[in-house]
C-alpha cells in the first residue's frame, strides 16, 4: 500500500491552500485527491468578480483566484490526482479512492485534511409541494450549466432564497438574456452579501421579497408557474397573500450543507454547522484528521476559506512532525456559544499547545444592530469590539490570544456572545 505524509481530500480553494501551507511548513510528501477534471473546485464556475480583496488586495474572478493557488501548487510540484473519488476513509487514516486510470487504490496517510466542500440544499429538503417538472434547479447547478457549458437553463425565472449563489445567478441569467421576475426569501433578511443584493438585484430592478416562500410549483413537464406567499413570523404562509408568477424556471438558493458523508465514515463527529467539531488546530475528534473550508462550516468569502485552510495545512504539518505534542494536549477548554451566537469554529482549545493567536470564526442567529462582540475567558472579558450590523449571512471573526486564556482551569469555559455593551 502506498504511504503518504498528508492526503488532502478536495482540490478546491480549501484543499489548495492547505497543500501550499503544509508544503511551506516542511511537509513535502503531499497528495491532493480531486474528483473533478481540474483543480480549483467550485471557483471554476464562479466567473463573477469580487474574490481576493482580502488576500490579494484586488478584485479577481473565481477562476483567476483559483489559478493563483493552482500556480503555487504547480510551482511546488505538489502531487495531485484528478477525476479521483475517495470512497472511504478509516479512523487510522487509510484512504480508499478510485479513478479510471489507476482503478481502486489504498493510501495510508499520517494526516488527512478534509476539504470536500459543501452541497446545496435541494427542493426535496424544503418540502415545497407541487409538481416535479423539469426547470427546477439549484442555483449552483444552473451556474454550472450557464458558466461552464454555456447553456441557458431558463428564460423566465423565479428564485427562491437570497443566498449568494442565487443572487449571482439572478445577474448571470439576466446578462445572458433571461428575465428574472422575483427573488423570494423566507427570512425577514437576506442570506447573501449586501454587495450582491446591490449589484445583482438592484442594478436590474429585480424585486427581493423578504418573508416570502414558494407554496406551489405548476407544470407537469416543464415549470409553467410558481406561487409565492408571504409568511408569518413562524414561517407559515399567510392566506390571501399568494401571487402566481408565470415562469419556466425555479432556481433554489436556500442554503449550503457541508458534505461530510466521508468524514462520518472515519468516525469524525459533526456539530451544529453540519461540519466536524474541531479544536484550535482545526483537528477533528479523530487524531490527525483535520478539516477546513466549506466542509467544516459554510463560508461567505473564499479569502477566509484560504486563510482557514492555510492554518489547517500548517497544523497538519505540525502533527506529522511532532505527533507527541498532539497526543498530550493538556487541558481542553470549551468555547461556548453565548447570546446571539449560532456557532463558533473552533469549538475547543488546548491553551498549552495552541499558537500564540488563533482566529475564531462565528455566525450570529439573526440580524442585529449596534452590538458588541464579546469574548470571555472564564469571567474575564478578553475581546470587546463594536459591530454596527451583524447578520447570519456574514461571518464574523476575532483573534483569540493564548496569553488571555493560558491560566484558565479545566472546568472554566470561554464564552462568545453579541451583547448590548
Amino acid at each position: 500500500m502506498r504511504e503518504c505524509d498528508l492526503v488532502i481530500i478536495g482540490g478546491g480553494p480549501a484543499g489548495l491552500a492547505a497543500a501550499i501551507s503544509a508544503f511551506d511548513s516542511g511537509i513535502k510528501d503531499i497528495l491532493i485527491l480531486e474528483r473533478d477534471k481540474e483543480l480549483g473546485g467550485i471557483l471554476n464556475q464562479c466567473i463573477h468578480n469580487g474574490f481576493g480583496l482580502h488576500t490579494f488586495k484586488e478584485e479577481l474572478t473565481g477562476p483567476e483566484y483559483a489559478s493563483r493557488f493552482i500556480d503555487k501548487v504547480l510551482e511546488r510540484k505538489i502531487e495531485y490526482k484528478l477525476g479521483t473519488m475517495v470512497i472511504d476513509i478509516s479512523k487510522d487514516k487509510e484512504v480508499v479512492a478510485i479513478n479510471p486510470e489507476e482503478g481502486l487504490f489504498h493510501i495510508k496517510a499520517k494526516a488527512v485534511i478534509l476539504a470536500m466542500g459543501c452541497r446545496e440544499r435541494s427542493r426535496g429538503a424544503l418540502n415545497i409541494p407541487g409538481y416535479r417538472p423539469a426547470g427546477i434547479f439549484s442555483a449552483g447547478t444552473a451556474q454550472r450549466l450557464v458558466n461552464m457549458e454555456g447553456y441557458l437553463p431558463g428564460r423566465e425565472v423565479v428564485i427562491l432564497g437570497s443566498g449568494d449563489i442565487g443572487l449571482i445567478m439572478a445577474r448571470r441569467m439576466t446578462y445572458e438574456g433571461a428575465k428574472v421576475k422575483v427573488v423570494a426569501e423566507l427570512m425577514p433578511y437576506s442570506g447573501g452579501l449586501k454587495r450582491n443584493i446591490v449589484q445583482c438585484l438592484d442594478d436590474y430592478d429585480i424585486p427581493l421579497k423578504l418573508s416570502h416562500t414558494v407554496i406551489d410549483i405548476q407544470g407537469k413537464e416543464r415549470v409553467t408557474g410558481v406561487t409565492i406567499a408571504e409568511v408569518d413570523n413562524t414561517g407559515k404562509p399567510i392566506k390571501g397573500t399568494e401571487e402566481t408568477y408565470s415562469c419556466d424556471t425555479l432556481l433554489l438558493s436556500v442554503g449550503l450543507i457541508p458534505e461530510n458523508e466521508l468524514s462520518e465514515m472515519a468516525g469524525v463527529e459533526l456539530g451544529i454547522t453540519s461540519g466536524p467539531i474541531v479544536n484550535e488546530s482545526l483537528e477533528t475528534n479523530v487524531p490527525g484528521i483535520f478539516a477546513c473550508g466549506n466542509v467544516l462550516h459554510v463560508h461567505d468569502l473564499v479569502d477566509y476559506v484560504s486563510e482557514e485552510a492555510g492554518f489547517a495545512g500548517k497544523s497538519a504539518a505540525h502533527f506529522i512532525e511532532d505527533q507527541k505534542k498532539f497526543e498530550d494536549k493538556g487541558i481542553e477548554i470549551q468555547i461556548n456559544t453565548g447570546d446571539k451566537v449560532r456557532y463558533t469554529v473552533p469549538k475547543t482549545v488546548h491553551p498549552d499547545i495552541m499558537e500564540d493567536e488563533i482566529t475564531v470564526r462565528l455566525r450570529t442567529t439573526n440580524v442585529f444592530k449596534n452590538v458588541y462582540l464579546n469574548c470571555y475567558a472564564g469571567d474575564k472579558r478578553i475581546v470587546h469590539r463594536k459591530r454596527p450590523v451583524i447578520a447570519p449571512g456574514e461571518m464574523e471573526n476575532f483573534q483569540l490570544k493564548k496569553e488571555d486564556i493560558k491560566d484558565l482551569k479545566a472546568e472554566e469555559i470561554i464564552t462568545v456572545a453579541f451583547e448590548e455593551e
Binding site: 468578480n49 479577481l60 458558466n147 461552464m148 454555456g150 445572458e176 452579501l193 449586501k194 443584493i197 442594478d203
Partner: protein
C-alpha cells in the same frame, strides 16, 4: 438637494451610505473608509461595473472560457457589452489576460480571459461501452 441611500459594495462590510447631491457638491456620509467615499461619489456621478461572462472556445479542454472587462464600464453599457459578444469565440489555448475582444461595445475597454484553457489533446480517451450478453431488441 438630493439624498440617495446606497449600500457600499467596495468590500464585504457593506456600509450604508447617504450621498447628498447639491449641484456640483457631493457629500458622502456613513462610509468607514476612503474607498467608500469614492464609491458613493462615483455611484451618483458615473456608476460603473465590471462585466463577467463567457465565450465559446474551439478545440479546448473546456467548452467555454470565462472572461471579464479589463476595467470598469459604464453601468448602462453592461448589456451592450454582452450583446457585442454574441458572435465571439476563441481558439484554444487561452491564457488568463488574453484579449478576447478589444474595445468591447466601443467602451475603450477590452474583454480578457479569466481562465487558462489548454488545447484538447487529439482525442480524449473514449470510455468503453460495457458489453452484454443480451440479444438486441428489435
Amino acid at each position: 438637494m438630493e439624498k440617495r441611500n446606497l449600500t457600499c459594495i467596495r468590500c464585504p462590510l457593506g456600509c450604508s451610505l447617504v450621498v447628498t447631491i447639491d449641484g456640483d457638491n457631493i457629500d458622502v456620509t456613513g462610509n468607514t473608509c476612503k474607498r467608500g467615499y469614492d464609491y458613493g461619489v462615483k455611484e451618483v456621478t458615473n456608476p460603473t461595473r465590471v462585466v463577467t461572462t463567457t465565450v465559446p472556445v474551439s478545440d479546448g479542454v473546456d467548452l467555454r472560457v470565462s472572461c471579464k472587462t479589463s476595467g470598469d464600464v459604464p453601468k448602462d453599457k453592461m448589456i451592450d457589452v454582452i450583446k457585442d459578444l454574441t458572435e465571439v469565440s476563441i481558439n484554444a489555448p487561452v491564457a488568463i489576460g488574453d484579449v478576447i475582444k478589444a474595445n468591447v461595445a466601443n467602451t475603450g475597454i477590452d474583454i480578457v480571459a479569466t481562465k487558462n484553457v489548454s488545447k484538447k489533446k487529439s482525442n480524449l480517451k473514449a470510455t468503453e461501452v460495457p458489453k452484454h450478453e443480451y440479444k438486441k431488441a428489435i
